[in-house]
């Protein structure tokens, strides 16, 4: 049994079918990349897996560690170990980043039957994590994502991921809006989290990110279907040739 088993997943939004039968199995330790042109259902897939409202699942199933993921609320999924690094992280005015992180961490600890984290332990943990990710410590005192630059927002996402230690992490266009230095820091952060019991699903438009986070499998999503799968060389091919040939076949 794989860690994540997506079977014949069909999803509609306002009666319009966006995903038209996705099949994907992922094991712990694996990094899968989903590539594809804009408006092809990449973000829909990430939101559906994370449990956002507004998506109608018309067919298919998703098993996470043998459990029916689609039956769980978004927060239950998160506490079970599903993490989504957002393309556009939300601003939470007035809530210090540290406060937000602590609340999230304690929600997970509660699920595991642990006590809330001790204030000093939390500070030490945050100090070491921010150092690893080259995040200025001052940043965690600022309200979450408020006035953050694009790069800071993405670093904050990786910081959260690193703190919450998910078993299944989805990175939705994490490379968008990042300059090359930030891209490297973020990628290093993700690579540091690679582990045999953790799977990553990386959604991206460009091959660029995949030179830093090297995937085991690459899938091409066009018109709501995975039209081709391969190893990392497929990404390089796409970078060179673009998506035109898949789009043509989709139209035909």
């Amino acid at each position: 049994m794989s860690l994540i088993e997506i079977k014949d997943l069909h999803v509609s939004v306002d009666g319009k079918e966006i995903l038209k039968g996705i099949d994907l199995n992922m094991d712990g330790g694996e990094i899968h990349a989903i590539m594809g042109p804009n408006g092809t259902g990449k973000s829909t897939l990430s939101y559906v897996l994370a449990g956002k409202d507004g998506y109608e699942i018309t067919q298919g199933s998703v098993l996470f560690d043998g459990k029916n993921l689609l039956d769980m609320e978004a927060d239950e999924r998160a506490r079970a170990g599903v993490f989504l690094a957002f393309q556009y992280p939300m601003e939470i005015p007035g809530v210090a980043t540290a406060t937000f992180l602590k609340t999230a961490l304690n929600a997970k600890r509660r699920e595991q039957g642990l006590d809330e984290i001790d204030a000093m332990d939390f500070l030490n943990l945050i100090k070491s994590k921010t150092k690893e990710l080259e995040i200025p410590y001052e940043m965690i005192k600022r309200p979450l994502n408020v006035g953050f630059s694009g790069g800071e927002k993405k670093r904050a996402e990786v910081l959260q991921m690193s703190l919450l230690e998910p078993r299944f992490a989805i990175l939705d266009e994490t490379d968008s809006g990042l300059d090359i230095d930030a891209l490297k820091v973020v990628s290093d952060g993700v690579n540091a989290l690679r582990s045999p019991d953790r799977a990553f699903l990386i959604i991206t438009h460009y091959q660029r990110l995949l030179s830093y986070i090297v995937p085991d499998h690459v899938h091409v999503l066009v018109g709501g279907r995975i039209v081709e799968s391969g190893d990392k060389t497929l990404a390089e091919l796409l970078e060179a040739e673009g998506y035109a040939r898949f789009e043509e076949s989709e139209a035909a």
Binding site: G51, A78, F83, F86, G94, F100, A107, E111, P143
Partner: protein, 484 residues
């Protein structure tokens, strides 16, 4: 599974008011209803001097002529109050006043424990003197001795009337006169107790003064009267917090708080109000008609009101500042949360009389369920208030689509050198924000509590430490059941 059970329990708890219990201490009660006899009864019970009774009667007779003139300008809907259907005096049956906590009825102490006010611990650890009002009569006053040595007077109003008549006569009713408004007039006639504070010249009161109010007898209207005087160059921080047991009848509460601030003095007055708000359908709950006003009489005097209003079915409350002394300043920080069928009409009045007077208003209203919240504020600059300045910010946050938020600001400037600024926003908690928080493992109620606490931060951070933590929890508790 454990967490699921926790969630189930949490949801179940929403239906019960957190502090919903009742102690069965027999009350020494006046008969039901309001009459001149009742006013005399209260005054006699309190062993008051003649001048006090005369004042009460004057107020009562005025109130009689206004009985049908209850204020109706607020955006509040409630059935007509039958003033004859209430009790106006009840006291815990204690016999002689206790000399120490050891003499206090253990049942009372138990009640305080439930309320989270372990008096003993507070006395030993917290350094907070507590004047606990239980059913209108103060039963325990701590730290009195230490405060006495400093020249601070902190005692029940009934005691101040007997022990410090010169101060009470000079200042009582000097900020909120007996003829001020319908509810204040009623309070003058039948107030039973409250707190009296006098801070002597030049003293920075070393501890925060705190009082906890609690309504406990059935149908007992609570009419507190509080008077705080900060003499020249002094400072005091006063905390007021309250919870009440659950009941079905609507309970009337009409308190009056007067603050007098002399030259270079400062009073910081913080309130956390968490009275029973009624059930989901709006049954029961406290009616809270409060008149709070500060007179900044002296030059450079300063008042800071902070309020966190989460309870009561009806809130009618406008803590105000009369900025009479030159360079005096008034600040008002408010969080008002309404859920289910609660209604709040609250705000402030800043009356600028002196030169270079300044005022600042930060009001945050959060409405959920089918509740309604109104900010009502007046900034008035009088002709002599040369160089006066005001800044007002009103933010409303809506949760769900059946609640209402209203802002009614009045600005009257009669001096061309004055500057006033007003900013207002209305927002909703977005689905995206909720999803973001939930994606990080927070359940919907935790997410709401976090977002709302962020929204209120500017106000909550003005609270003294002891209150800030409690207030943050209250914000979460009072919005339980508002999602899902």
């Amino acid at each position: 599974m454990a967490a699921t059970q926790q969630t189930v329990d949490a949801v179940r708890d929403v239906e019960k008011y957190k502090y919903g219990w009742e102690t069965n201490i027999e009350s020494d009660m006046a008969p039901k209803g309001l009459s001149e006899d009742i006013v005399r009864f209260i005054s006699a019970k309190k062993e008051e001097p003649e001048w006090m009774l005369d004042w009460r009667l004057k107020a009562y007779r005025l109130w009689l002529t206004q009985e049908d003139q209850e204020p109706d300008w607020a955006k509040l809907k409630y059935p007509k109050i039958d003033y004859q259907d209430s009790y106006y005096y009840a006291s815990p049956n204690l016999g002689d006043a206790p000399k120490s906590l050891d003499e206090v009825d253990p049942k009372l102490l138990e009640t305080y424990e439930k309320l989270g006010i372990p008096l003993r611990e507070q006395e030993m650890l917290a350094g907070v003197a507590v004047d606990a009002v239980f059913d209108s009569v103060s039963v325990a006053t701590t730290y009195k001795k230490k405060l006495n040595e400093l020249g601070v007077i902190f005692c029940p109003m009934s005691e101040a009337i007997k022990e410090h008549p010169e101060l009470v006569q000079k200042y009582l009713g000097s900020v909120v006169p007996y003829s001020d408004n319908f509810f204040a007039t009623l309070n003058c006639a039948v107030f039973t107790d409250g707190s009296f504070v006098y801070i002597p010249k030049g003293l920075r009161c070393p501890m925060e003064l705190s009082t906890y109010f609690r309504i406990n007898e059935k149908n007992t209207g609570q009419f507190e009267r509080t008077l705080i005087i900060a003499d020249e160059g002094s400072y005091v921080s006063y905390l007021e917090g309250c919870t009440a047991p659950q009941r079905d009848e609507n309970q009337l509460h009409a308190a009056v708080v007067e603050l007098v601030v002399l030259d270079d003095a400062e009073i910081k007055y913080s309130t956390v109000q968490n009275w029973y708000p009624g059930d989901e359908d709006g049954k029961g709950g406290i009616y809270n008609f409060v008149t709070k006003r500060a007179a900044c009489r002296g030059k450079n005097s300063k008042v800071m009101w902070t309020q966190v209003e989460t309870g009561s079915a009806i809130t009618w409350k406008y803590p105000s500042c009369i900025l009479q002394g030159d360079n005096s300043s008034g600040e008002f920080y408010s969080v008002a949360i309404t859920n289910n069928r609660q209604q709040a009409d609250t705000g402030t009045k800043m009356i600028h009389l002196g030169k270079n007077t300044r005022s600042k208003i930060i009001a945050k209203g959060i409405s959920a369920g089918r509740s309604n919240s109104t900010y009502r504020g007046l900034v008035r600059i009088q002709p002599k208030a040369e160089g006066a300045r005001n800044f007002t910010q009103c933010d409303s946050l809506l949760i769900g689509n059946q609640c209402g938020a209203h802002t009614v600001p009045y600005i009257e400037s009669r001096n061309p050198t004055a500057q006033t600024e007003h900013e207002a926003t209305t927002s909703k908690i977005s689905d995206e924000q909720m999803f973001y928080c939930q994606q990080r493992g927070m359940n919907p109620e935790e997410a709401i509590s976090l977002i709302v606490n962020g929204f209120c931060k500017e106000v909550l951070q003005t609270l003294p430490m002891e209150f800030a933590v409690e207030a943050q929890k209250l914000v979460g508790i009072s919005l339980e059941g508002s999602v899902g």
